[in-house]
Amino acid sequence: MVFLTRKIEFSASHLYHNPALSAEENRRIFGKCNNPYGHGHNYTLEVTVAGEPDPVTGMVLDLKELKDILEREVMHRMDHRFLNKEVPELTGKIPTCENIARVIWDLLEPKITQGRLHRVRLYETPDLFADCYRNGTGAFNREG
C-alpha cells in the first residue's frame, strides 16, 4: 500500500453562530469567532489517497486527475468564499475545521475511483487542524 498526498490552499471567511442559542451563549462558546462580520483564514488541505501502484503506469492515481478533482470540488466551492452563505453543503452547520473537513471528505470520497480516499487533513492555521478518515484504517502515519 502506498499513500499519496496532495496539498492545496484556499482562503475563505466564516463566522460561528448557532441561531438556536442566545447571543450571550454564542459569545461564550464561540468567543471572537462569533463576530457577526466574519473573519477569514488561509486554509491548507492535505488529501491522502491509498492504493497499490498500477503495474503499467507506476501510479496510485494520476496526480493531474486528483488536482482536477480538488479544483472542481474544493477550490471552486470554497476559495475566496464566505463559507456560511456560499457553500450549500455547510448550510445549517457551524463551519468549524471539523465540519469543513467532513464536508470535503463527503465531496471527495465518491470522486476518487482509483485507490481510495484515506485521509483529509484541513489546517485552519498552522497550529489547528482536523483529520477525517474511516475507522479501522488508522491515521495516515500508523496504518492499521
Binding site: N18, L21, I94, D127, A130, D131, G136, A139, R142
Partner: protein, 143 residues
C-alpha cells in the same frame, strides 16, 4: 469499505526547556558514549513543538469535537506552565527518575493529557527540533 467516518482535532503548542541526557545506571564513559553532547553536565535546550490529536463526536450545536478554549486551558495548566522555560531534569518530578529524552517526554505529556474530560486523546507528537519528531499514541499505539 472500512468503518464509520472518524474526525479528529489537531492542535500544536510550543514550549522551550532545557535538559540533560544522563543515566545514573551508566558509567561516565558509557553516558558519554550513549548520549554524546546531550550528556553535557550543564544541559542544553530546545524549542519543543507539541502536536496533539483528540477525537470524539462533533457536537451538532457547536460543530466542535472539543472547545479549543477548554483544550488550550487544559494544556496550558498541565504542560505549558510546568514545562516552559524550565529545566526538565530539575523541575519536572517525572524526570528525576527517568531520562528526559523526547521519547519519555511524549509519554509523560500523554500521561498528563489523557485525562482531558471533553475528548479522547489519540496521540502526542513532539518535534524536538525541526528535524526530529517522536509520537506516542498510548499502549496499543493505535486509535
Amino acid at each position: 469499505m472500512a468503518g464509520a467516518l472518524k474526525t479528529e482535532l489537531g492542535r500544536r503548542y510550543r514550549f522551550a526547556a532545557s535538559h540533560r541526557l544522563h543515566s545514573d545506571e551508566l558509567s561516565e564513559n558509557e553516558n558519554w558514549r550513549v548520549y554524546g553532547k546531550c550528556n553535557n553536565p550543564f544541559g542544553h535546550g530546545h524549542n519543543y513543538v507539541v502536536e496533539l490529536r483528540v477525537s470524539g463526536d462533533v457536537n451538532p450545536a457547536t460543530g466542535m469535537i472539543a472547545n479549543l478554549a477548554d483544550l488550550d486551558a487544559f494544556v496550558k495548566r498541565e504542560v505549558l506552565e510546568p514545562f516552559d522555560h524550565k529545566s526538565l531534569n530539575e523541575e519536572v518530578a517525572a524526570f528525576r527518575r527517568i531520562v528526559p529524552t523526547t521519547e519519555n517526554l511524549c509519554m509523560e505529556i500523554y500521561r498528563r493529557l489523557k485525562t482531558f474530560p471533553h475528548a479522547k486523546l489519540e496521540s502526542v507528537r513532539i518535534e524536538e527540533t525541526g528535524n526530529n519528531s517522536f509520537e506516542y499514541a498510548g499502549e496499543r499505539g493505535q486509535g
